[in-house]
Amino acid sequence: MGDAGFDMEACLAGVRRQEERAAADFVRELYPLVLRLVRSHLPRRASEEDLCQMVFIKILSNIGQYSGKAPIEHWVSRIAINTCLNALKAEGARPELRWSDLSVDQAALLEAVASNPDELDPAEGAASRDLVERMLGQLNARDRLVITMLHLEGYSMDDIRERTGWNIAAIKVRAFRARQKLKEIFYELTREGKL
């Protein structure tokens, strides 16, 4: 994270005493971590800066609940992810994704992935990510979160457990169901496109 010589313990003590300077240092130190998480789980209509600010206000307001047993980064990650999850839930249901809703690039990519057994060109990464995110938009917030962390960001089950607070069995079940739903969406899209 940021500054190697940063004294987190002293900073936390300052935040607990409601010292503004310590709180500002704390925010600056943890900003890259929070920003990364917020970008990964950002709802469509939300601004990443607003969501980051909301996360930091929650963290600072609840700093008294941090016991110091786990690394501060894990505790902060959990709050950031839960804040994003709540924002995603608030977005509500999305309209069904149809073949005709896809852009030309997305339709071409879907055609390529459905008809060609070879790996996709890494240059297609951006288009793949866009397409996957549109498909993920059909899932509920928790399913979307688990697929993003597991398949797109390469987190292990243990990492997800530490960052969400869910138990391993629940994560496995949710990941399986979410993947089934994603497979159905993918199948429907390819069927509609007659691929």
């Binding site: 994270m1 940021g2 409601q18 503004e20 709180a23 500002a24 240092d25 925010v27 600056r28 900003y31 890259p32 920003l35 990364r36 970008r39 990964s40 800066e49 980051c52 600010q53 930091f56 206000i57 600072l60 307001s61 990519l109 992935v113 459905a114 057994p117 790996e119 996709l120 060109d121 890494p122 297609e124 990464g125 951006a126 793949s128 990510r129 397409l131 996957v132 995110e133 993003t148 398949h151 797109l152 960001e153 390469g154 993947r179 994603l182 497979k183 993918f186 199948y187 390819t190």
Partner: protein, 102 residues
């Protein structure tokens, strides 16, 4: 459905290579907080903490006033019942009547 599974895997792998950090941002680069962000976040926190304390004071004051009103009403009601004690003869008669019952 098996081919759907494999196609989906390929799509997820390629999307994973790109990653969230790739969306117009340099992968792996640590971005500093924008100018004034830390100040805004801290101000939001302090304003929230002050508002919470004010709300709590307001809540306790309201609860205290309600408790006081209930106490006054209870004292008033008990005083009223003491001064208008039931007719003793009637009370004895109704006790006798119930004691006579088998």
């Amino acid at each position: 459905m098996k081919s759907t599974e494999k196609s989906l895997d390929r799509l997820l792998r390629t999307a994973g290579l790109y990653g969230a950090a790739g969306r117009g941002h340099a992968a792996g680069a640590e971005e500093e907080a924008p100018y004034g962000f830390a100040t805004r976040a801290v101000a939001g926190w302090l304003a929230g903490a002050g508002a919470e304390a004010r709300l709590q004071t307001l809540w306790f004051r309201r609860v205290f006033l309600c408790a006081l009103a209930v106490m006054a009403a209870t004292v008033g009601w008990s005083f009223k019942t003491d001064t208008t004690a039931p007719n003793e003869e009637m009370a004895i008669a109704s006790y006798d009547a119930s004691a006579d019952l088998p």
